[in-house]
């Protein structure tokens, strides 16, 4: 009886997990199958692999300057990630390490900015970029993202687990604050950095609204903008759109799989 109950519980668990896994994976499967079918077959809802993959890839590469578009996306994502990690981890470190009377007030004000939807900031930000002469530059895409309240919050929370004894010991040994940060803090917080890297890279790679507003020419466009433009034609070629979507997904997939272990560690709390 007991065995049966355990079996039933297992079956229910696996059934539920299987269903959830199917729901998460199905769109990907459908995307991959779609890339092998013609647009008409996709509309008809065909769920079997087709023979149009080469045609779709060929069409995508003739319609889109793929190397340029990928270079644009990669440049923005990598630049944004490196700068965000540098600036926001410093801020998170600072918020936790240095005590002052106004610290919490500033910190809370910063967290409040998370509540402001981006659409409300868009026009002032756009005017700012216009005055700085940065419209249609990749710098204009990167700059607003590097002081990220969320990443600062994440680093501050993780820094709470950073043993202050380490810092004190380093101080006794005569390290300056920047040396402590660079040589003690950064290596210890490796997995926090890794997790933040995955999050920030994905956000930057998939970022859509702001690049759309600020980038003006075909030469500066990112892969997300190009796929969106393909998908909104009066008669979109869904096969080509699927090829574009797969290509746009690959880098984030690669980053995630490559850093999965560190990501999970970072999420669980990085300091051992």
């Amino acid at each position: 009886m007991n065995g049966f109950r355990r079996f039933a519980a297992m079956a229910a668990t696996y059934g539920f997990l299987g269903l959830m896994a199917f729901l998460s994976v199905f769109p990907f499967i459908w995307m991959v199958l779609g890339a092998t079918n013609s647009s008409i077959d996709i509309i008809k809802g065909k769920l079997l692999p087709g023979a149009a993959f080469a045609t779709n890839v060929g069409n995508f590469f003739t319609l889109v300057n793929v190397p340029l578009v990928f270079w644009n996306s990669a440049k923005i994502a990598i630049l944004a990630t490196v700068l965000t990690l540098a600036v926001s981890s410093l801020a998170g470190y600072g918020f936790e390490m240095f005590r002052s009377r106004r610290r919490e007030r500033v910190y809370r004000a910063m967290l409040l900015t998370l509540m402001i939807p981006f659409a409300a900031l868009m026009i002032p930000l756009f005017i700012m970029m216009g005055k700085a002469g940065l419209i249609n530059t990749h710098l204009a895409v990167v700059l607003p993202s590097i002081g990220s309240a969320f990443v600062i919050f994440y680093f501050r929370q993780s820094t709470k687990a950073f043993p202050s004894e380490l810092r004190d010991a380093a101080k006794v040994d005569g390290l300056k604050e920047w040396q402590i940060f660079l040589f003690i803090y950064v290596p210890v917080m490796r997995s926090t950095y890794a997790a933040a890297f995955v999050i920030v890279f994905m956000t930057a790679w998939n970022n859509y609204l702001w690049p759309l507003i600020v980038l003006q020419t075909n030469e500066t466009k990112t892969i997300t903008l190009v796929v969106s433009s393909l998908a909104s034609a009066y008669y979109p070629d869904y096969g080509v759109v699927m090829v574009g979507t797969i290509l746009a997904t690959l880098p984030t997939l690669a980053v995630f799989f490559f850093m999965q272990r560190q990501f999970v560690q970072g999420m669980l709390g990085s300091v051992k």
């Binding site: 759309l212 507003i213 020419t217 903008l225 969106s228 433009s229 998908a231 034609a233 008669y235």
Partner: protein, 424 residues
């Protein structure tokens, strides 16, 4: 003196040379016209063709055609105009006709009036009307969504109807024919998506009315054409002569699969209809059915867009001249875009060209393009106003009530209330 002259001469010569080369550079400096539009296979490709034609006669003008998704073009235009950052805007932008008045009225002075330059008498009047504000005409009319009744000759013949029987129908007669078609062939008369108000818009405009009157005030509760349009759709549903469709692709599937006998929509569907080679020779095109109320016609429109020049553009003069030379005068250009892209422009004189005069074997040798051009000139002018999209949503929300047999007057009241609430 001699020494001084020798010292100065090279400098003066240098200055003169520099000046000359500076002037020379200015004279030969290429002007680049930036254009935003949205469909790589349609308006983007067509604008590239137009640009190539203009560059042939004006080698100093080049084109930078940027394609974004349609909603993205609107979003970028809105942001650029709201922020007042002029260098963030293109020289020419494509705007959907239903939204034209929204931009013209919300951003006065943002778009260049073309009334003095372009001869608008050559265009379909309804296209000119929708881009007119306070007596000034802005924009260059582009593609039209003039409507037609596409019908399957084979199915209708099996039900006992000849092509002559399909001309100049009323909607009541159309429903009557639909019942007989289903009786004799088992096919439904048309595909209908209950969440798409497109057919309502077609029928309403065919009788010269819109959600808004000439002053832009809501015209719903007492709108005879809208009332008749909703009644017509109610009758179609009651007679059950339609195949329900869920979304655009599904609706397209109703006729590409051969499940329905007719399609009532804009001329831009022609390419999709013709994409089924096995149906060649089986299709005909007639004027759409008319309502039985005052002002009813057999011509209407669904969709369409036009080009607008930004007032702040540095290349304004070139941009206007370009649009005028190609879109208002080049008949051959209109043949090319009809042949290559299936685009029906709004310039009435284009009908005289070879592509428009050609008989189409797919439609059994009918001169469909000439017919569409005839109907194009007859599309009633209405004021699309600022809130067409909002009104459309309200109509869509109330369509199920029509299906369930709620009195149409009550439905109209509900739509009017919803629209008034939205636009205040």
């Amino acid at each position: 003196m001699d020494i001084q002259a020798r010292a100065y001469l090279p400098r003066i010569a240098g200055l003169a040379l520099a000046g000359a080369s500076f002037l020379g550079v200015t004279a030969a400096q290429a002007k680049e016209i930036t254009i935003w539009c949205w469909d790589p296979n349609f308006n983007v490709a067509i604008m590239k063709e137009a640009g190539a034609r203009y560059t042939k006669t004006h080698p100093d003008v080049t084109f930078n055609i940027v394609d974004f998704a349609k909603l993205d073009v609107e979003q970028k235009l809105q942001t650029g105009l709201s922020s007042g950052t002029a260098d963030a805007l293109p020289d020419i932008v494509l705007i959907e006709d239903y939204g034209a008045q929204k931009y013209l009225q919300s951003f006065p002075g943002a778009f260049a009036p073309l009334s003095g330059t372009v001869d608008y008498s050559g265009f379909a009047p309804y296209k000119v009307e929708l881009m007119t504000l306070d007596g000034q005409v802005y924009g260059m009319p582009f593609d039209s969504g003039v409507t037609g009744l596409y019908y399957r000759k084979d199915y209708l013949e099996a039900a006992g109807f000849k092509p002559e029987d399909m001309q100049d129908l009323t909607w009541d007669r159309f429903i009557e024919i639909g019942k007989q078609v289903e009786e004799k062939t088992g096919k439904k008369m048309m595909g209908l998506d209950p969440n798409d108000a497109g057919l309502v818009r077609i029928i309403m405009q065919s009788a010269g009315q819109w959600y808004f009157d000439k002053e832009g005030k809501p015209n719903i509760a007492n709108n005879a054409a809208l009332k008749a349009a909703l009644e017509t759709i109610g009758k179609i549903m009651q007679a059950n002569i339609y195949k329900p469709a869920n979304g655009w692709s599904d609706w397209v599937g109703t006729f590409t699969s051969g499940d329905v006998a007719t399609v009532v929509t804009g001329v831009w569907i022609t390419g999709t209809v013709k994409a089924q080679p096995d149906q060649s020779g089986n299709w005909g095109v007639a004027p759409i059915p008319a309502l039985s109320i005052d002002g009813a016609t057999h011509a209407s429109n669904l969709g369409g867009s036009s080009w607008y020049v930004l007032e702040s553009s540095e290349e304004k003069a070139e941009a206007i001249d370009f649009l005028n030379e190609i879109y208002a005068k080049d008949i051959d250009f209109y043949q090319k875009i009809l042949q290559d892209r299936g685009a029906v422009g709004s310039l009435l004189a284009a009908r005289g060209g070879a592509a428009y005069e050609a008989a189409d074997p797919f439609f059994g040798g009918e001169k469909v393009w000439q017919n569409f051009s005839d109907w194009l000139a007859k599309v009633p002018s209405v004021n699309y106003g600022i809130f067409t999209n909002e009104a459309d949503l309200a109509v869509t929300a109330q369509l199920p009530a029509v299906t369930q047999g709620t009195p149409v007057d009550e439905v109209l009241q509900a739509i009017e209330a919803e629209v008034s609430a939205q636009i205040q």
